[in-house]
């Protein structure tokens, strides 16, 4: 497939450094095939949107690990398959509970998932507030101002390595805080499966 050339290690390397433009390329190119697939698999555009959102949220919030992934596209598909599986399982459960086709339960399902995104943001906000002032400063310089690691290092008079470590630590802290609040991002096992 022609988009293979975009989803490569270099792209993942850039995303791992917090490059939003690189993440946008991954998002848009992979959706060319992923979106129609997911839409047919979950049977509605609204549900497809939620599954895609969940998939890429996982990727984004684990970006510090992406540089270590050998087969980026296989890994991404695995994450997407995992989200589809979770969705299908939920649909099956609802079908058994209600005794009706899950398609009719779409609205309720969408509502709960949307709420989760809002909660997610709140939990992340909390996690960032709990970081030490220095780590929080570095994290927000990276995210809010879009600064690159060397730029942050220069402004704060730190080594690029300590800035990088602070960012990795912050993402880890965010995932840990999410896990404590019931939003697990279990990506590590997926990395090993795909190797």
């Amino acid at each position: 497939m022609h988009d293979n050339i975009y989803i490569d290690k270099l792209l993942f390397q850039r995303i791992s450094e917090g490059d939003e433009a690189a993440f946008g390329i991954l998002f848009n190119t992979s959706l060319t095939t992923l979106e129609p697939f997911i839409r047919k698999m979950v049977k509605s555009p609204e549900n497809a949107k939620e599954v895609i959102q969940a998939t890429f949220l996982r990727v984004w919030l684990s970006r510090d690990k992406l540089a270590d992934i050998d087969h980026p596209k296989a890994w991404l598909f695995k994450v997407a398959a995992n989200e589809c599986y979770t969705y299908l399982k939920k649909e099956a459960n609802e079908y058994r509970l209600r005794g009706t086709a899950a398609v009719t339960a779409d609205d309720a399902d969408t509502a709960t998932r949307r709420l989760t995104l809002k909660e997610l943001h709140t939990v992340i906000e909390e996690a960032v507030m709990l970081l030490s002032p220095q780590r929080r400063r570095i994290y927000q310089m990276s995210r809010n101002r879009g600064m690159k690691i060397p730029e942050i290092a220069t402004e704060l008079d730190l080594s690029p390595n300590s800035v990088k470590n602070a960012l990795v630590f912050s993402l880890k802290a965010i995932r840990e805080h999410l896990r404590r609040n019931g939003h697990a991002i279990p990506l590590v096992y997926l990395i090993f499966i795909c190797r």
Binding site: M1, D3, E20, F23, G24, F27, N28, L31, T32, T33, L34, E35, P36, F37, K40, M41, K43, K49, I52, Q53, F56, L57, W60, L61, A74, F77, K78, A80, A81, N82, C84, Y85, L88, K89, E91, A92, N93, R96, A101, L117, K118, E119, L120, H121, T122, V123, I124, E125, E126, V128, M129, P133, Y139, Q140, R143, N144, R145, G146, M147, I174
Partner: protein, 395 residues
């Protein structure tokens, strides 16, 4: 082979031709967690074979979706406090929750402009002097026009008007004590200067906190069918319950009617809108015939156009001043400086256009002005203090 069957069932689903029996069969497979690996493998295989979309994508929808994802970990920049504070964290949580509900994607662009550092004049050159924070200061004007300065008055009965005693308590607050309702009712006015705030207990037991540069006109006894007071500036009310005798606050053309409840009224005329924030109970907010009812946690804002808009809000932010804090949620520099003007009794001028940045977080009102400005400077804005004139330097 079960793998083949799983692939077939998923293909049927993808084609939209699956029968009810096939759907049931897939559901049964899904219920058994032992099938997870087979199902995951089948889903991944089919994904590799999936054809690309021929129809053009909805770019706007995609961009919005992408922004909701990368926006998930954008957080409100925190104004760091000088002293570590447990309390502020609690308040900040409340602010953070509200902020969390409003996705930060828009904020991202607001925060983009970053001040590139020019050589900065030393602090000692820019801060010629310091300014103490405001304190408990007010002036009580009695019906006969006589005035009592409340920060100097001794701790006892300040005066007697008709059957009402005015008592100043240990903590500096003023208490009105009505001993009977036979004497004629007169009106008093409590006025706070810039740099002053004051707490007052009205004859009915209602407690009022008056913020800086504000005033409250009230009767020495509430004898009629309702309890009416007039407010300018900002006040926080904890209204004592009195069945059948509604409490009415008149502020800048708005009427706030309550029974027993806790609420804040911000009616400074140099702010964009009058804001009524309800913490407990229920209030009606009206102006020019329009009336809106508020529920706890809601804020009514009345702009110059007389429209009353009601939204959910962070109540802790609205009453932070009473608890000794400035709390901001993505406030622009002019909003921050207007609050400082009232509390430090300063005049703020801008060297160029006000810098485009937003502030979030909390600071103690007990800090001296230089303490506050140093915190704000960490966000890239610079100030000059000369006497009571503060210049926001061009960044």
């Amino acid at each position: 082979m079960q793998e083949q069957r799983v692939i077939y069932l998923l293909q049927q689903r993808l084609s939209g031709n699956e029968t009810v029996e096939e759907q049931e069969e897939l559901y049964t497979l899904l219920e058994d967690d032992g099938n997870m690996e087979i199902l995951m493998a089948a889903l991944t295989d089919l994904m590799w074979q999936a054809p690309a979309d021929t129809a053009p994508a909805d770019t706007a929808a995609r961009t919005a979706l992408l922004q909701s994802i990368t926006g998930a970990d954008l957080t409100t920049p925190f104004v760091e406090t000088v002293q570590p504070m447990k309390f502020i964290h609690r308040l900040w949580w409340a602010a953070a929750i509200v902020t969390g509900l409003l996705l930060a994607t828009g904020l991202y662009f607001l925060l983009r402009p970053v001040a590139t550092m020019k050589p900065v004049p030393a602090l000692a050159q820019r801060y010629k002097n310091d300014i103490a924070p405001g304190g408990n200061k007010a002036m009580l004007t009695l019906a006969d026009g006589s005035q009592i300065v409340l920060d100097e008055a001794k701790n006892d009965t300040l005066g007697k008007q008709g059957s009402t005693s005015i008592i100043k308590l240990q903590n500096g607050q003023v208490l009105y004590h009505a001993t009977g309702a036979t004497a004629p009712v007169t009106y008093n006015t409590l006025t706070t200067p810039r740099g002053g705030q004051y707490q007052l207990t009205l004859p009915d037991g209602t407690q009022v906190w008056l913020n800086a540069a504000s005033s409250l006109r009230f009767p020495t006894a509430f004898t009629g069918n309702n309890r009416t007071v007039e407010l300018t500036g900002e006040g926080y009310f904890e209204v004592a319950k009195a069945p059948g005798k509604p409490f009415l606050v008149k502020a800048n053309g708005a009427d706030i009617t309550v029974l027993g409840t806790h609420f804040n009224v911000m009616a400074y005329t140099n702010e964009n809108a009058l804001a009524v924030t309800l913490l407990e109970g229920a209030v009606n907010v009206g102006r020019n015939g329009a009336v809106k009812k508020l529920l706890p946690g809601q804020q009514a804002r009345i702009s110059n156009s007389n429209n009353i808009t009601v939204t959910g809000t962070d109540v802790q932010e609205a009453v932070a001043w009473k608890n000794g804090f400035f709390i901001f949620d993505r406030a622009d520099i002019t909003t921050v400086m207007r609050q400082l003007e009232r509390w430090y009794d300063i005049e703020v001028v801008y060297e160029g256009a006000p810098p485009e940045m937003r502030f979030g977080g909390g600071m103690q009102r007990s800090l001296s002005l230089s303490g506050i400005l140093k915190i704000l400077e960490k966000n890239g804005v610079l100030f000059k203090i000369e006497g009571r004139k503060i210049t926001v330097l061009r960044s």
